[in-house]
């Protein structure tokens, strides 16, 4: 049933696209420096600590957080698995007020991060696809002439790896790469959606102040990104700043008129501010937009609540009389 057309498409793509593992000089963007090494990046040996905490501590310390692998280990090391998961590393970075930004699955963003002076945490599979050996390391540079990746890795303070080998291990590891940003920093070639999602992660982790800073940075960079405005509004609302929240919700609605989320939240805010009629109008619009989307039930809840409130507060209990003009 499924495959033949797709097999054809993939085969054509494969034949057209790709030589196996080109050297660094082939792929590196022409504008990038020929070599970079962030030699002031700290080093935490993995001999005493596992690679997850060591690699994350390297990144966090490089971004100005005062941590050690010992303090991180209980947060990220999962003894049964003898290692860490990406999600634990991300959650730990958030707890320390940094914005964990998962880089694109191509190496261009990695190079741009190195250019900006930020080391990059990478997941490598040092084994084979069918027999993986997982390892977290920190990429601190590269050298085009010598075709090398330069890493802080395991118990090697400075490890050089042939670029093709590095590319292969990163590829087999699922192409996971992470930087930890100060919340007011937006990477040079960041993708707006991915950055805002990272900021939303900070918000969800309860780091409201850091999330607000990140949303502001996103808005400054991409003033047309609706989810940045939605996030800014949600944080302002949670902080009790209704006026700022209302303005930001309005901006989000203007930029994404079909998104039920900002309308739903605006209706909540209006209800909260005692503007019942307007609240009901907005939630009805949100409900229409949310039909058939994952937000349908959330908006239905808001609507039920707003209708219940309208019924209690606004219903005239003496409607059966004529009142004088």
């Amino acid at each position: 049933m499924i495959p033949i057309r797709l097999a054809g498409a993939v085969l054509v793509a494969a034949l057209a696209g790709c030589s196996m593992s080109p050297p660094l000089a082939k792929g590196l963007p022409a504008t990038a420096p020929r070599s970079i090494e962030l030699s002031s990046t700290p080093f935490f040996s993995q001999e005493q600590y596992q690679c997850g905490p060591a690699a994350l501590a390297t990144l966090l310390v490089a971004s100005g957080v005062d941590v050690t692998p010992e303090t991180l280990a209980p947060e990220v090391f999962i003894p049964e698995r003898k290692g860490s998961l990406e999600l634990e590393l991300i959650a730990a970075a958030r707890r320390h007020g940094r914005l964990p930004y998962v880089l694109a699955t191509t190496a261009d963003e990695m190079v741009a991060e190195l250019e900006a002076g930020r080391p990059v945490l990478v997941l490598q599979n040092l084994g084979a696809t069918w027999m993986p050996i997982w390892h977290y390391a920190v990429l601190i540079g590269y050298d085009v002439e010598r075709n090398r990746a330069i890493l802080r890795s395991g118990d090697h303070e400075r490890e050089e790896m042939r670029w093709q080998r590095f590319a292969g291990t990163w590829h087999r590891g699922g192409r996971f790469a992470l930087t930890t940003l100060k919340p007011d920093v937006v990477p040079a070639i960041a993708e707006p959606a991915r950055y805002v999602e990272a900021a939303a992660g900070l918000e969800a982790a309860g780091q409201r102040q850091a999330a607000a800073t990140a949303y502001d940075a996103a808005i400054a960079r991409w003033p047309e990104e609706p989810h940045a405005w939605l996030g800014r509004a949600n944080v302002a609302y949670a902080d009790g700043d209704r006026a700022a929240a209302a303005d930001a919700y309005l901006r989000a609605i203007t930029l994404a008129p079909d998104d039920p989320a900002p309308r739903n939240n605006l209706s909540e805010l209006l209800l909260d501010a005692g503007c019942l009629d307007e609240s009901r109008r907005q939630v009805e619009r949100a409900a229409a937009l949310a039909q058939g989307t994952p937000l349908e039930s959330a908006v239905a809840d808001s609507r039920a609540k707003i209708e219940a409130t309208t019924a209690t507060v606004a219903r005239c209990k003496l409607a059966d009389r004529d009142w004088p003009d």
């Binding site: 049933m1 499924i2 495959p3 057309r5 797709l6 097999a7 498409a9 993939v10 085969l11 793509a13 494969a14 696209g17 790709c18 030589s19 196996m20 792929g27 963007p29 699955t105 191509t106 190496a107 599979n125 696809t129 993986p132 590319a167 990163w170 590829h171 087999r172 590891g173 699922g174 192409r175 959606a193 805002v196 999602e197 939303a200 992660g201 918000e203 969800a204 989810h227 939605l230 949600n234 949670a238 998104d259 039920p260 989320a261 739903n264 939240n265 909540e268 209800l271 909260d272 005692g274 989307t293 994952p294 937000l295 908006v299 809840d301 609540k305 219940a308 409130t309 209690t312 507060v313």
Partner: protein, 127 residues
């Protein structure tokens, strides 16, 4: 005089409590979180369709039986262009829905094709 001010106080208390009955209770509960809104907006993205297919427990179990590693699949998927992923998502969506054995075999077969055919380890963006 005293009765008048007592009445005023009563009215004030009553109106505050009336308003707060409905308004305070679950105030923040129905606000859609930013992450939730982003996830909802993304649900029609082809990569999300492929991810959802791969995340199904029956598909995962089958792939695990065949000793195919999830991270390896992710690496291969990352090497596909957006158009290729969209075509893959289209194939998955046109497959019979539900936990039907044929659908599982279909997804697993697609994954095996990807693993077999896409031999790219060019990690830079193709321009």
């Amino acid at each position: 005089m005293r009765i008048e001010s007592f009445r005023r106080a009563c009215v004030a208390v009553m109106s505050v409590s009336l308003i707060s009955v409905g308004l305070q209770a679950p105030a923040a509960a129905s606000v859609v979180g930013t992450s939730e809104a982003i996830a909802a907006a993304r649900s029609d993205n082809p990569r999300a369709v492929v991810d959802a297919a791969l995340a199904r427990a029956d598909v995962r179990a089958k792939l695990a039986d065949m000793r195919v590693d999830q991270a390896a699949i992710q690496g291969r998927l990352a090497a596909l262009s957006d158009d290729e992923v969209a075509s893959l998502a289209g194939q998955i969506e046109s497959a019979p829905a539900g936990g039907d054995a044929l659908a599982v075999i279909g997804v697993v077969f697609l994954v095996l094709i990807i693993l077999e055919v896409v031999g790219v380890i060019d990690i830079f963006k193709k321009t």
